[in-house]
């Protein structure tokens, strides 16, 4: 172990006595606590979050900090490519509304340093846990570092899909990491409709959740990518009888007979009009308030119900808690300027299924619309010239709709996005590109009754106000 402390006599003495771990941990705990307090006080003044910092410093001082820190009796981990934040928040909110005191990392990072920060908050100065229950969102790539020392009793897995190819490579790679990291005794809450993630740790106790057959379900793929096309047992081509998006659906292998598992907790009926989800999770079906009507969030809500049920919350109490909840709208805003609706949606660039989901959602909204896209990520630390391979896995084809009158793409890589949209078959006359945000004013043609959608990458959030200001300027200049 390198570091200033390994050269000190005190260190050598303590190491010989076997006390060095304790010594290191005490320093890490104190440093982390002081930093947490400083961030708590100064954060709002400096407009800095820095929630991973205390954990980061603690881990630097004591690399085994996650082992040494006191933990809640019961820990639930929520992981998966898409939907883990939403699912995590639904679980925490439902528990808190029912009087539970929950330790979580919901306002912080989901990698090991973020989890260390959360656990820091959950102990006294004497390392005594202050919480009985911890709900932790865990980044999939961090599984090996986290689960080695933080043993979850339950692990909720939303799905495994394509993520940043630079970091996460491909879903099978992430599957292998989680498979290797998960404790053998954790009860897994798995998506019955994801034939990749639901094969994790087959010997572990497990509860499957899913969505039953719904009107409008098809077996046809609408997406460019599906990562579960071959049978995991015999490698024959799978036959899907329901395919909702990407690899999420229900399949059978015509060769060896492998099928998607039956869901123990199953959303049987989706009533969008009355906003009710009828689920089977016991003797009789039970109605829960529908928190969001998108299929992605119905999966998340079903996963949350499956976990809450395991934690012993009654169906009535879950339903009551859900009745006043909504999916966090930090990624969605809507307002009106001079009678024109501006709808803003933040998406995750580099993650094809996430972008495709947003494109699908926006394209299916009724009414005429114009789109402003700012999806590039100029902060890419590895590729000075950004790698846009993910755009060729993203369904820009969804945007080829007659009611999408115009799409303006912004940024240094605007030509690449423009080319991608031409290759998606979108007519040239509906497309425009500009390198600058100010260029929006030149190409946007505001009209009454035509909504303007701003779709921007997470990393472009800092430019959101500027983008919106230019959209508003275009509306003002149009003199409607």
């Amino acid at each position: 172990m390198k570091g200033w402390y390994n050269r000190t006599e005190a260190f050598v003495y303590l190491e010989k006595r076997g006390n060095i771990h304790v010594f290191r941990f005490i320093i890490a705990l104190c440093a982390g606590k002081i930093l947490s307090f400083a961030i708590h006080v100064l954060g709002p003044i400096l407009h800095k979050n820095g929630t991973h910092l205390p954990g980061n410093i603690a881990l630097k001082i004591d690399p085994l900090f996650l082992r040494h820190i006191g933990k809640p009796e019961t820990i639930v981990a929520v992981t998966g490519t898409n939907g883990k934040t939403t699912t995590n928040n639904l679980i925490i909110d439902a528990l808190e509304k029912n009087g539970y005191k929950v330790l979580s990392n919901r306002y912080g990072s989901n990698v090991d340093s973020g989890i260390a920060s959360a656990l820091l908050q959950g102990v006294s100065l004497f390392n005594r846990p202050k919480f009985k229950l911890g709900i932790l969102e865990v980044d999939e790539r961090s599984s090996l570092r986290v689960y080695k020392y933080v043993h979850p009793k339950y692990v909720v897995v939303t799905n495994l899909m394509r993520d940043s190819l630079m970091r996460n490579a491909h879903p099978q790679y992430i599957f292998d990491i989680i498979e290797q990291a998960l404790p053998d005794d954790a009860t897994l809450i798995l998506n019955a409709d994801d034939l990749l993630s639901n094969r994790l740790k087959p010997q572990n106790p497990r509860i499957y959740y899913g969505i039953g057959h719904q009107p409008g379900d098809t077996a046809e793929s609408r997406n460019l990518i599906n990562d579960v096309q071959i049978c995991p047992n015999c490698h024959s081509k799978l036959q899907y009888h329901i395919l909702r998006y990407n690899s999420i659906g229900r399949a059978v292998c015509p060769h060896c007979g492998l099928t998607s598992p039956e869901a123990d907790v199953c959303t049987l009926k989706i009533d969008r009009e009355d906003r009710v989800l009828t689920m089977r999770l016991g003797a009789a079906p039970f109605d829960f308030p529908m928190i969001s009507d998108s299929i992605f969030n119905i999966y998340n809500e079903t996963a949350a119900v499956a976990l809450l049920d395991q934690l012993g919350l009654s169906h009535e109490k879950i339903a009551e808690a859900f009745s006043t909840m909504q999916v966090v709208k930090s990624r969605y805003r809507e307002d009106k300027v001079r009678g024109i609706r501006i709808l803003s949606t933040m998406t995750k660039g580099w993650i094809a299924p996430a972008c495709s989901a947003v494109f699908d959602y926006v394209s299916q909204l009724p009414g005429e619309k114009q789109l402003v896209l700012y999806l590039e990520d100029p902060t890419d630390p590895i590729f000075y010239s950004e790698l846009l391979a993910y755009t060729f896995e993203t369904d820009f084809e969804f945007l080829n709709k007659d009611n999408i009158q115009r799409i303006i793409v912004i940024g240094k890589r605007a030509r690449d996005f423009y080319l991608r949209m031409l290759l998606a078959g979108i007519p040239e006359e509906r497309l425009a590109w500009t390198e600058t945000i100010e260029g929006i004013k030149r190409y946007l043609k505001p009209k009454f009754g035509v909504d303007i959608h701003i779709l921007y990458d997470l990393h472009q959030a800092v430019h959101y106000d500027q983008i919106r200001a230019n959209v508003i300027a275009a509306i003002e200049e149009a003199k409607l």
């Binding site: 081509k237 755009t391 896995e393 030509r415 080319l419």
Partner: protein, 241 residues
Amino acid sequence: MMRIEVLYAETANLYGDNFGINYLKQSLPEVEIIHTGLTEVPRFVTEEIDLVYMGPMPESSQELAIEALRPHMEAVRRRIDEGKVFLMTGNAFEIFGAYIENEDGTRIPGLELFGGYAKRRMMNRFNGMFLGSMQDMDGQELKILGFKSQFTHFYGDTGVDFAFKRLRGKGLNPDAEGEGVRIKNFIGTYLIGPLLVVNPLFAVYIMKLCGAEDPHPAFEKTAMEAYEVRLKEFTDPEHQY
């Protein structure tokens, strides 16, 4: 009519690189695209195919692809001798080497079309940019741009030519002078992008190799502008990569 066979796209489909074949289709609408699955006999074994393509895949699928192709290696060699075009992008070309070495030292025997071996480092993903060059059919230098995102490098004596001369970035391995492998019209490269979309001139070169007369890349003006902008970035001495 030109025919392109895409091998094992049900699993060899990572990083959007297969979209390059879509790009060729949009450049030459009359092209016939054939998809061959892991459990099927490749068409090139018995039929005239102008381009055989295979894209990047998960590591576990490399073993499936090796086993699927092993019975047809005589046909692969015959078609290469005949001058047919094979394009393998990402880690697809690795399966044609002597072997793939896992982190624990175990080896997965390859198809031995050429020598050398790929070495996996699964917790050490390599990401990088690459600028290289090659000669087109008229002897003109063609600049090749590409990206790398992989767990492996390729080592040892391949016994064959590089596909591209290295100008900037890392080649087959951090010490290699070139990138990829080339045997007649068999081109294997780690580069992704998608390679054919990011390099419209290379797409033209491939179409010519396949026998197309005076081919033009789809949306040529925009594609070439994007290429020129990127080329400027890739050659910018201010930026290291």
